[in-house]
């Protein structure tokens, strides 16, 4: 769980990002202009800042230039020209996302940055299972459960996107990779296996006609 600041002057979008991050279990704070952002960053200890560029009081670029270099920053903005992207990245931002964005992509990039700055969680607990993503070990009730490679990858995908519904195609992509030319039925089969091995029938929910969701 990370403490993330969202600086965006559009209420609706700020709320949207907030809601999504909360689903992942992160703690969030919201500000609506550049000056507020500077103030709050000085007061609190954030693990990541999501910055819009076109904000009143102070632009996102200006804010970033005044921040310490070790505070991870992702720009989320409608300014998509090459020069703007270069400006943002040259200021030392960890990533630059252009609106409109895909929510899952945003989550994946947030996770990436947190992983790089070692602020992500690698150990998750669901019911009596403990899953260590770094060591790739799953313990149920203290005893190690042996999972196949694909089963573990699938579990990892569900955990990293917890509380979000993932389509079968998406799960195939995430766990089996882009080159896999198989059928999505293998996803169903592996889900069954996971549910059985880890006793997560309630937590791994089937989303009708869509896919699956891990609810924690």
């Amino acid at each position: 769980m990370a403490y993330i600041l969202i600086a965006e002057d559009e209420q609706a979008i700020n709320d949207l990002i907030c809601k999504n991050l909360k689903l992942l279990g992160h703690r969030t704070a919201q500000v609506f202009d550049g000056a507020q952002a500077m103030q709050l960053i000085a007061e609190e200890n954030f693990d990541l800042v999501l910055l819009d560029v076109m904000m009143p009081q102070m632009s996102g670029f200006e804010v970033k230039s005044k921040l310490p270099a070790d505070l991870p920053v992702i720009f989320v903005t409608a300014k998509n020209s090459v020069s703007d992207q270069l400006t943002g990245l040259n200021l030392g931002a960890d990533d630059y996302i252009v609106k409109p964005f895909d929510v899952l992509v945003l989550i994946a990039r947030v996770e990436n940055v947190l992983r790089r700055t070692k602020k992500n969680d690698t150990i998750f607990a669901i019911n009596d299972c403990v899953i260590d993503l770094a060591k790739r070990i799953v313990l149920k009730d203290g005893k190690e459960v042996v999972l196949t490679l694909q089963e573990f990858n699938l579990l990892e995908a569900l955990i990293l996107n917890r509380n979000f519904a993932l389509s079968r195609e998406k799960l195939l992509q995430l766990a089996w990779g882009f080159d896999y030319m198989g059928d999505t039925r293998t996803v169903d089969v592996h889900i069954q296996k996971l549910r059985k091995k880890l006793d997560l029938q309630k937590e791994i929910v089937t989303v009708f006609k869509y896919g699956y969701r891990l609810e924690v």
């Binding site: 609706a12 979008i13 949207l16 009143p56 409608a78 609106k99 895909d102 929510v103 509380n163 519904a165």
Partner: protein, 472 residues
């Protein structure tokens, strides 16, 4: 290898000068010398005639009395002339009678006994490395058997000639060199302005817009330089205008895309959220509400953009518009909203007031003005808000004014009100779904109708917007 213009001129002029100068000198000298030579030859021929005459006279005298004295006479003359450098050889038939030339030169008898002087043969030849003018002739009548050869020294003539030629050559060389140098420097100096013109052009071409020619000479090159400066200034101004225009367009696009992307992000984001996450019923409804709101915002934006595009098209059909109708329609359109916001909306219209214009645009114009007025009142916290729309006739103008006692505008806003997407209060305006294009639409429509647009405003007190149409 590039040859410069002045170098071309230089080479041509120098070449022409040298050719004609040296050519003339050479020709004159040669002609002079030829004349002199001919003259000299004539002299010698005359002399030869005289010498032979003398000899023949003496020979005639002695011929009868002492024929054996002839060789002596000849010798006398021969020696005497040999002292002066004139050499002789005389032959009687094949027999050599006298010679002051050291070797046998003369061939001998010429077979024209009766033609004497006309058959003189003369040539220039060398005897012992010295040039002589040699005349061969037979003696006349009874002495025709004697053949004579007289050699006149002509070496000095040629020596003089050569010396003269040498001095002339030196003179020509000196003159040519001096001319070459002077001409070179002169031309180089005169064509310096071309050089500076060239340099300025190169500088300008490389992107230095400040390049100008400082020193203007009083000739065609100076004129060109002056025109160059004028042209450069024109280009600078034009470039500035284009840059400004491009910047304006870019700003418009940036703002427009932001205005479009933001609601789209919200719509897509919330739709995805509803698909992916497990949400409560309450969240379900609030999320759908947000999506609807944002969609309305997009709708406003697209409608405003269309209105702006319509105003920008050039093919507008103007007709006679009764303003009373327009104001009536606007009143109908906005009265409900005004009532909701506790704003008193009033209309005043002169009778029979007409203008020429495009109907939907004029309605859009008045509508947007009314909209702005209502928003200004909404943002205000006075207890009683009024908006008045009036259309009045003046001397040769028609004035539509919209007055409100709302929040008013500060100086910056008054300046920027025509700028697309500019809003006085961003947060509030976006919440209401405003696209921010109202100001620029009003301006555009006014421009298209050749009407003047005026704003008078005091912060906190209210605003009056006037659109002044000149009647035809």
């Amino acid at each position: 290898m590039k040859i410069k213009f002045w170098q071309k001129i230089y080479i041509c002029v120098l070449f022409v000068f040298l050719l004609f100068f040296n050519g003339s000198i050479f020709t004159i000298v040669t002609v002079q010398n030829s004349k002199a030579l001919s003259q000299q030859k004539e002299n010698f021929l005359t002399q030869q005639e005289y010498i032979l005459q003398q000899i023949v006279n003496d020979m005639s005298l002695v011929y009868e009395s002492r024929p054996l004295g002839i060789p002596l006479i000849i010798k006398q003359y021969g020696d005497r002339y040999a002292n002066n450098g004139v050499l002789m050889q005389v032959k009687k038939g094949e027999e050599l009678v006298y010679s002051s030339i050291k070797y046998e030169y003369y061939d001998g008898y010429i077979d024209f006994p009766n033609k004497y002087l006309q058959n003189r043969v003369s040539e220039i030849a060398e005897i012992e490395n010295e040039k002589y003018f040699i005349v061969e002739c037979n003696l006349p009548s009874e002495f025709a058997v004697y053949g004579t050869l007289i050699a006149f020294p002509i070496q000095s003539f040629f020596d003089d000639w050569n010396r003269t030629i040498m001095w002339i050559n030196i003179l020509c060389c000196v003159v040519s060199t001096v001319t070459a140098v002077i001409l070179y420097n002169l031309l180089k100096h005169l064509t310096k302005p071309i050089q500076s013109l060239n340099e300025a052009t190169i500088k300008f071409g490389k992107g230095d817009m400040t390049a100008r020619i400082e020193y203007i000479t009083n000739d065609e090159i100076g004129e060109t330089a002056q025109n160059f400066n004028i042209m450069a200034q024109q280009i600078c101004t034009q470039v500035q205008v284009l840059e400004n225009s491009a910047q304006e367009k870019q700003n418009f696009i940036d703002d427009f895309s932001h205005e479009m992307r933001t609601p789209l992000t919200a719509i897509r984001g919330y739709s995805q959220y509803m698909q992916s996450a497990r949400i409560t019923d309450e969240e379900y409804y609030t999320t759908l509400d947000i999506i609807d709101c944002q969609a309305k915002r997009l709708q406003n934006l697209s409608e405003s953009m269309l209105a702006l595009s319509l105003a920008q098209t050039e093919e507008l059909e103007f007709e006679k518009i009764n303003l009373a109708n327009v104001l009536e329609n606007v009143h109908k359109a906005y009265s409900t909203r005004a009532k909701e916001e506790n704003i008193t909306l009033t209309i005043n219209c002169d009778k029979d007031i007409y203008i020429r214009g495009e109907n939907s645009l004029i309605e859009s114009l008045v509508g947007n003005l009314a909209d702005n007025a209502i928003n200004a009142c909404k943002a205000d916290n006075k207890s009683e808000n009024t908006v008045n729309i009036s259309a009045r006739k003046a001397e040769n103008t028609v004035v539509i004014s919209v007055t409100d006692n709302g929040i008013g505008m500060d100086a910056e806003t008054l300046e920027k009100i025509h700028t697309p997407f500019y809003r006085q209060d961003k947060a509030r305006s976006r919440k209401n779904g405003g696209a921010g294009l109202g100001g620029s639409i009003i301006k555009k429509i006014a421009d298209v109708h050749n009407a003047k647009l005026e704003y008078k405003s005091a912060l906190g007190k209210g605003t009056t917007a006037k659109v002044i149409f000149t009647t035809l």
